[in-house]
Amino acid sequence: MHSLKDYHPGVSLLYFFCVLTCSMMTRNPIWVLLCLIFAIIFVIQLKGFKHFLLQLFYFLPMLIFIVFMNSYFNSLGLTVLFYLGRGSPVTAENLTYGVISGLALLTILLWFTCFNSLISADQILIIMGKSFPTIGLSLAMIIKFIPDTIKQGREVLLNQKAMLGKQELTGNQKVKFAARMITVLLSWSMENSLETADSMLAKGYPSKNRINYSREHLNSSDLGLLITMLILFIIHLISAFSGSIKFTYYPFLKWSGFATNKNMLIISLVSLSLILAFPLVLDIINRYKWQKILKQEQNMQQQIIDGIIVYE
């Protein structure tokens, strides 16, 4: 997935748009599981196995919540498994639905983990700035102000304490002290921002001509990737919704599209796999290219060595 970083943030963004849409658009277990598997692969690749396990652990209560909400409060489904307390019967159907729903949510969370480690604040600014220049600018300024504010906050805290020497505060006083501190911080930050505003004026803001410069350029290979991904996505949408994806849980589990639409099913599964595997394919291509160059270099060296030997 690291290869995505080599390209314009738009490519990553479109990728996440596609996979999030795919992960959310159906509860067909095969679709959900396929998305989940790829999300797991990428999280492990980007953050390591440990991080994945940790995230899984934190997600467990949420999973239980969703399964419980789906199976405890309704009696849909024919295959009764057992009764939970005085509630409705738990059926194979509503249990499956609960688990698959939970896994779908897990998939989405995992995609966002990838998103967070791949897309930097800078790139979010670029994307926002393109469509909302003033808001993009405000965001950049907020990000600039935060470390300043934290630094000043610490300074105010230390100074307020230091001014009065030793003192122990009770809980209520602590809250009052914190409130007073943040009030000082507010006036101070506001006062400082006056100078920032002047500096903006001095550099010609606001201006009718203002453009949004970004260090990232959309080049032809980015464009190629964007178009390929978009085409795959459209193919997937058409083939999936032409019937192959249809899966009903109640009254009993039934994949109605499975039998009727074999061709469409194959097309949609292949296109989905291709979309999901997109960064993996890029990684592999890059590695292959790199190895090819390495081999060529080695060959060249070998030839030179051979040449020397021959001449000798």
Binding site: I143, L158, L164, V184, M200, A202, G204, Y205, S207, R210
Partner: protein, 559 residues
Amino acid sequence: MNKQQTLVEFLNFSFTYPTSEGLPALQKISLKIKTGNLTVLCGMNGSGKTTLLRHLKPELSPAGEITGDLIFADRLYQKKDENNRQKIAYVMQNPSNQIIMDSVWHELAFGLENQGLKTEEIERRIAEISIFFGIETWIDKKVAELSGGEKQILNLASNMILQPDLLVLDEPTAQLDPIARRDFLQMLFYVHSETGISIVISEHNLNDLLENADHVLFLDKGKLDFTGSANGLTDYLFNNDHPYKAVLPIATQAGYLVDQVQRTESSNTMPLSIKQGRDLLNRTFSHQSAVTDIDHKNIIAEDKNGNSDNDTKILTADRIWYRYSPEDDLVLKEASFNLYENEIFAVMGGNGSGKSTLLYLLSRALKPLKGQIKSTVQKRIAMLGQNPEAVFAQDTVLQVLTEFKQRFTNTDREISDMIDLFDLRDILQRHPYDISGGEKQKLALAKVLLIKPDILLLDEPFKSLDVIYKQKIKQILSELKAKMSIVIVTHDVDAIAEIADRCAMIFNRRIIAEAPTQDFFQKNSYFTTTTYRLTRDIIPGCIVFNDLQQKLINLTSGE
């Protein structure tokens, strides 16, 4: 030389703020700013420097009543021409506040984005300016990772990238430490000599600046009292015995002193740098070194006697360790020192050497990791940090002063005396953020003194003060010594040498070189006062300017 074009011309220009009841902030200013000149604008706090400079940048001009004319050259500024606005660049005092964007490259691009330049042009300009300023290595950094000095260099670069014809700087080094100040000024002089851009700069510290100035303006109470060359200004100030002469470089003051003592009409131009000053002193006094040597020993002996009188320890820092978080490096390690009753103890050191941390530890706002801070009796400790803003939580100056009235049983009399001591009477009803930097410093000091501490801790109390304020604060601190012990942490070697009893440095996480002030500065040859660097081997034993004055007067009367 007369072919220089006029960029901006003030003609009988007066300006009055709407709130100031008809008292003009600028009065009948007439002056011309020429192409290629480095113009230095000097004057005391509140003399109207900022007001004048802001009129040079029409976007920032304050609202108010104007009489007279202000004429900009066509190529510099035309009201109707939107595209021609960034021909005047403006750099302000606070390094962080004037940065707009979050990352260095984004900050550089900001002004260019406003001009609507093409991507290729923006990239070319960023590239060339980064190389010119030598900032390529930190172009990818976030602004928050830069030091204050680097931030100010970035501000210069992000203004220069707009290719201005006139660069205006309003006290750009007031918030910087001496090393960062030197780097900034060197960069500025480099920019000036390499590009020939016209520069107008206001400063309250004239060291290093006058010798590079083409044109000097002196503003006093809104009137332009002097325009001309640097040497013209020094003559003007000394001939009129103007209090502002204290701001001139020590070398210059020494030059006048020599003239005065020798009672000769000087035909020389006055020295502006240490080197020129040393040349002058060498020429005048090289044959008299034997006499002064004896004097020197006497002074040191006196000083030692003076110090042995009071050696009641009031506070001891015993091998303290500190770090801000487990991942951070140690800030202090095995740092120890003693503080005696009724003394001023000064701690100096580079940026980030842990000076402020030491004070926070002494004040007990932080707790040492290891080691102990012991005070002999139950002593009240109060500290004032670098930024007075951090202690203002009220809406008026008076409320700031009376906040702890009950807590520390301040009588009305005490408060009233404090107000008079610090000259705060006229501004009691103002908001603490609306007063000048020097007044803020005084207000904060007054507030801390009302706590009635036995030990007073001060972090950079001379920062961004002009000579007059500085003089006043020095005097107050010297008087306070009778009632309390004071620990001062500062970069301002010249100011502290005048009032401190003992000095030390923080280096390598420890407190080293603890010694009486005279000894401390005489043992150092680089990290020492300007006077000492000027006179070191020529007239030994002069730490502060007063010493030199005494010596020279003794010398001439002895002959």
